[in-house]
Each structure stands twice: as structure tokens, then as C-alpha cells.
Symmetry: C2
Subunit: 259 residues, 2 copies
């Protein structure tokens, strides 16, 4: 698949190509699908898949299809996203969910996308496009706008230099407008992202600061547009974001607020 060097792919690359063949749309694949998606000969795929399955990195289902295995899931739960951030954030996300009964999300930036690290949604909440481990374009989401607003300038410029995907007629697709929105977020400390992903919902998002006082994540609450009073949600979202920042050891969150 994608290799940055022009050399022949190494075995490490081939292993990662096999693992990267799985997608949210196709989390279970048979050998020939894996071979095709990884761009590897069937014999090579067979050997690598066999070794991965023997170690529990893949699991063979009863129907012969393979899935990502429990061993790999456990190892991956040790990532900063899975461990420190998520564990610190959960109690505050819980509080926010319980106070509102709306969808609550925690996301990190992998420009030009946001990756959802956690999502809490009740059975009555509005349905949302995101899922834990899923992605959306950063410029179209509340969490993504917050993360872009605090990203290094070179990351911002890279996103601004490429076409901005339109999800709805209200998605920000003009670089000039995006620059204005990002500046407003740095000034206000939150954003209301109105019907940018789906026409039925809006989100209120705020930044989460880490120990180095840089923004490491963002949280948001997603509510139906119908009857929404997003301004009333801002204090709760900002308070939860501040609580998580404090739990992560952010100096900013430990200082007294000035207003």
C-alpha cells in the first residue's frame, strides 16, 4: 500500500499492510481479500496471516474470515490515546453525559482528520456519525475545529492549502472563513459547530490541555438541532474539558480562572 520509501517493501511493511487492510467498513476479511487489499501475493499473505493468528494478533472466525485479535487490542490499549487520555477523561465524560443525556465525544487530531478516542451515547441520544476509533475531517467538526485552532501553524497551513470536504451546505469550505473561525476559537475557548456534519445536529466543543500546557485533545457534546440551545451547554463542556486538563496535569487548569 502506501510506502514513503521507493525501496521494495520490508517484512515489517508487509505485516503493517496486512493489519491496515482491515477497515471500519470491512473489519472481517478472508485470505484472498487480505491479499488483494494488502497488495501482496496470496502465498506471502497466507504465511504472514498464519504467524499473526498464531500469536493472537489476528483471530480466525468460524466462517474462515480473519479479524484483529485480542492480543493486538490489548497491546494497542497501551497507546497514549487508549490509556492516559481516555482513563483520565472518562469520569468527566460520564458527568457530562449524565447531566445532559446527549452524545459526548473525546477526540485527538491526526490532520487533516480527527480520530474519536471515546464516545458515550445513550439509547435516546441523537445518532452520530462518529464512533470510537473512527475519523472525520477536522474542519467539519466541533472537536476538529478546536484542535486545528491550537495546532502548529504548519499543520493549519497544510489543512488550509487542500480542498475542504463539504458534508452539508453548512460545512466550512472556504479557507478564509476557516481562518476566522480558528481565530475566534483561540479567543473564546470553545466553538459551536452548527450542522456541519449532518443537518440534524450541532456540537459544542472545548480544548483539553496536557502537562506541557498544549492542547492534546478536545471534547464535545452533540445535540439535535431541533430545540437546541447550544449556548446553555457551553459552561458544562468547558468545565468538563478543564477537569480533564487538570487530571492530565495541565498547569493552565490548575490556575485560578480570571472570570
Amino acid at each position: 500500500m502506501r510506502h514513503t520509501s521507493a525501496k521494495a517493501p520490508s517484512v515489517v511493511d508487509r505485516v503493517l499492510d496486512v493489519l491496515g487492510a482491515f477497515t471500519p467498513e470491512r473489519p472481517a476479511l478472508n485470505l484472498s481479500e487480505l491479499s488483494r487489499r494488502a497488495g501482496l501475493p496470496l502465498s506471502t499473505t497466507h504465511r504472514i496471516v498464519g504467524e499473526l493468528a498464531r500469536r493472537g494478533a489476528l483471530e480466525r472466525q468460524e466462517d474462515g474470515q480473519y479479524r484483529i485479535g485480542l492480543w493486538l487490542w490489548e497491546v494497542a490499549s497501551l497507546s497514549p490515546q487508549g490509556m492516559g487520555l481516555r482513563e483520565s477523561a472518562m469520569p468527566y465524560l460520564e458527568d457530562l453525559y449524565e447531566a445532559t443525556h446527549e452524545n459526548v465525544q473525546l477526540a485527538v487530531l491526526d490532520a487533516p482528520d480527527v480520530v474519536y478516542v471515546e464516545r458515550i451515547s445513550g439509547r435516546q441520544s441523537v445518532s452520530v456519525v462518529s464512533r470510537a476509533g473512527g475519523r472525520l475531517a477536522a474542519h467539519a467538526t466541533g472537536v476538529g475545529l478546536v484542535l486545528l485552532a491550537h495546532a502548529p501553524v504548519e499543520v493549519q497551513e497544510k489543512v488550509l492549502s487542500r480542498p475542504l470536504r463539504r458534508y452539508t451546505p453548512r460545512t466550512i469550505t472556504s479557507p478564509e472563513e476557516l481562518r476566522r473561525v480558528l481565530a475566534a476559537i483561540r479567543r473564546d475557548g470553545f466553538v459551536i459547530s452548527d450542522r456541519q456534519v449532518e443537518l440534524v445536529s450541532l456540537s459544542v466543543a472545548a480544548p483539553v490541555y496536557g502537562p506541557g500546557d498544549s492542547v492534546v485533545a478536545a471534547i464535545s457534546i452533540v445535540v439535535p438541532v431541533e430545540g437546541a440551545e447550544p449556548r446553555t451547554l457551553v459552561p458544562a463542556v468547558r468545565a468538563a474539558a478543564r477537569g480533564i486538563s487538570r487530571a492530565l496535569g495541565a498547569p493552565r487548569a490548575s490556575r485560578q480562572s480570571t472570570h
Copy 2:
């Protein structure tokens, strides 16, 4: 590290040895620690780590230590534990947490251990040993006892044939007693695991059934022993387990209950 064949480790094995060097106690490692833990020469470790980092399977921190990367975390979120089970279970776990404000857990069996797939805990709940992605010995936990009770006979016998680790004076360590408890769980449909992991807490656990009508997971609620009335929690835990089973498409959970 552990290889089932006597042959020299393959590159696939070496990649997995590097990934498997990370543990909950040491989620960040430098090159020489990775080399030592993976049992590989420093030069080999350097090359593999470089390739893994280039693809985002590992991330290099500012202090030079490596951690599991966002790419691998995203891929691993496609595992059955990360995706189907967890997503189906979350709304019911939320309900249970909200009704009780106690720790709620979702676990799967990887005998002789249980692996915690999800844990919801508020800031006021009793502290628990488990964490999402963490492990405990199955025979000592409520979820583990439920999963063992419904495991294939050969899995049960393997656990019963080995020493049963004692966490507290109340941990079940006699194979005969464990057999009796497992039989009672199959009869009753739940278990109260009393101070087996820590002397300050107990858990109430019930089985989650999958589409094939076999037990695929277990849920539990963990409460402080002080003032606990575990019997009053049984209906809520069983109802939540039944809801998750239904969401997973278990035939059993769609049938009318007889009592």
C-alpha cells in the same frame, strides 16, 4: 520471547515481540529497553522500531521513548472486542452506571485470565484494580467466574488443573470449591464474588450471550463491601446483560423470560 515453534524467530515474530514489550506498567520504553525486553539485538530493534514509527504503529515521544502509536490503536479498535461488543454494550453499561453510580465492567475470557474491555467508573466510585485492556485471574473475579462457568470443558479443566492464585484470604483456590461455584452460576445465571480480589469490594456479575447463543462476555458491578446489599443489584445487572445480549442478536435474549 514466547514462540511455540523451535525454529528461529521470523521477522513477523520479531515485530510482535517489539510490540509485546510494552506493558501496562511500562507503556513507554527507550530503544535499549525495547531491545532487552524483545530479546533482539539493538541493531535489529533499531531497524524494526524505525519502520514501525515511520508507519505510525509506534510514536516517539519528545524524551526519546517510544509508545504504541495512533495508527495501531485505530486498527486495533476494529477487533471484535473493540468494535461490535463494546459499541453494543455501551448504552446498557451507561444505564447501569447511571442507576447505581458504581463501577461497571465488561470483560471477555482469555483463560486463565479475564480481559477488561470496558470500565465505567465515576469519580466517587470505589477504586478498582481493573482497567480497560487490563487483566485479572478469571477464578478470582465475578466476570471471570461467569465466563469460566460457560467456557468449554477443556478450558475449565485447564484452569482447574493449575494453581489458583490467591489475592485475598477469600479468593477461591480449591478446585473442588471452584467446580461447585461454576455449577451454581450455570444454575442461577449470576454470581456474587465477595472480596476475592480486594477485601474492600465485591462484585455482581452476569453473562452476555452472542448470536450463536454462547456466552461471549460478562458484565459486573463492583461495590464497596461496607453497607453493600449485593442481592438488590442482581436484577439490574441481569437486565443489562440481557439487553446487551439482545443487541448482539442472541436468540436467548429475544425469547420471553419464564420468570
